[in-house]
Symmetry: C2
Subunit: 136 residues, 2 copies
C-alpha cells in the first residue's frame, strides 16, 4: 500500500494520514492530490492528521507544500485533528504552518471550508456589482 | 500508530483502511467503532477500502463483524471503494460479504446511507400512522 487514498466528498477532498510519510509516499500524495484537485475541481482539501502522533520537519514541510500548491489551484487547505503534542512539536521545530488553516475535527474543518468558499463567492459577486456600476 | 482514525461526518462515521489489519489493530477498530456509534448516535458507518489491494479471510471476517455489530446498534454499514481484484478474491475465498452494502465511492456510499435512513424513517412514520389509526 504505497498510496494514501484521497476521498471526494462533494466539493472537497479528504485525506487521512495514518502512516509515516516517507519520501516517495509524500511525493506521491502531493502529485495525486494536485491531480485530483484539477480533475474534480475541488474547492477545498481536508487533511486529517488525528492518527499522527509524531511529526518531524519533513512532514511539516509536506503539509505546507500541499497547502501552497492547492492555493495556486484555487483550493483551500484545512488541517484537522492535530494532537496537542504535534502542535507543540511543530512550534518547537519552528514550523508554525503559516497559511494553513486548522480545525479541531473534520466536521468543523468542513464548516470552515464552506464559510471560506461562501466568502470568496460573495467577494466575486461584489466585484461583479462594482464592475456593473462602472459599466453604467 | 496502532489506531485507525474514525471520522465523524454529520450522522455518519467514516473509516479509511490504509494499513494491513493485523489482529490487535482489527480488534481495536471494532471496539473503537462500536463505542463511537454509541457516543455519536451515528446512523451509518462508511468503510473505505480503496487503498486495500490484498484481502484475506481475516479482513473479510472483520468487515462482516463490524457490519453485524453496527446493525445491532441500529447503524447501517456501507463498504466503499473496493478494488476489482479484492472483489474477485473475496468471492474466491467464499466470503460474499452478506448483509454488507457496497458502493463505488464515498459519495455514492453516503447517498446510499441517506436513502436507507430515509426509508427507515418513512417506515417509522408509517408505523406511527397505523398506531394512530388504531388508537382512533
Amino acid at each position: 500500500m504505497d498510496k494514501i487514498p484521497i476521498l471526494r466528498m462533494g466539493a472537497f477532498l479528504l485525506v487521512t494520514i495514518q502512516v509515516d510519510l516517507y519520501d516517495r509516499l509524500a511525493l506521491n500524495l502531493e502529485s495525486d492530490l494536485i491531480q485530483m484537485v484539477d480533475k474534480t475541481r475541488a474547492k477545498g482539501v481536508l487533511i486529517d492528521i488525528s492518527a499522527v502522533s509524531i511529526v518531524d520537519s519533513f512532514m511539516g514541510r509536506i503539509i505546507g507544500n500541499i497547502a501552497s500548491m492547492s492555493r495556486i489551484m484555487d483550493a483551500q487547505t484545512v488541517v484537522v485533528g492535530m494532537q496537542p503534542a504535534v502542535a507543540i512539536t511543530l512550534i518547537e521545530l519552528g514550523l508554525p504552518l503559516k497559511g494553513v488553516h486548522t480545525a479541531l475535527n473534520v466536521e468543523k474543518g468542513m464548516d470552515l471550508l464552506k464559510s471560506m468558499i461562501d466568502l470568496e463567492e460573495e467577494d466575486e459577486d461584489q466585484d461583479l456589482t462594482e464592475d456593473d456600476l462602472i459599466a453604467e
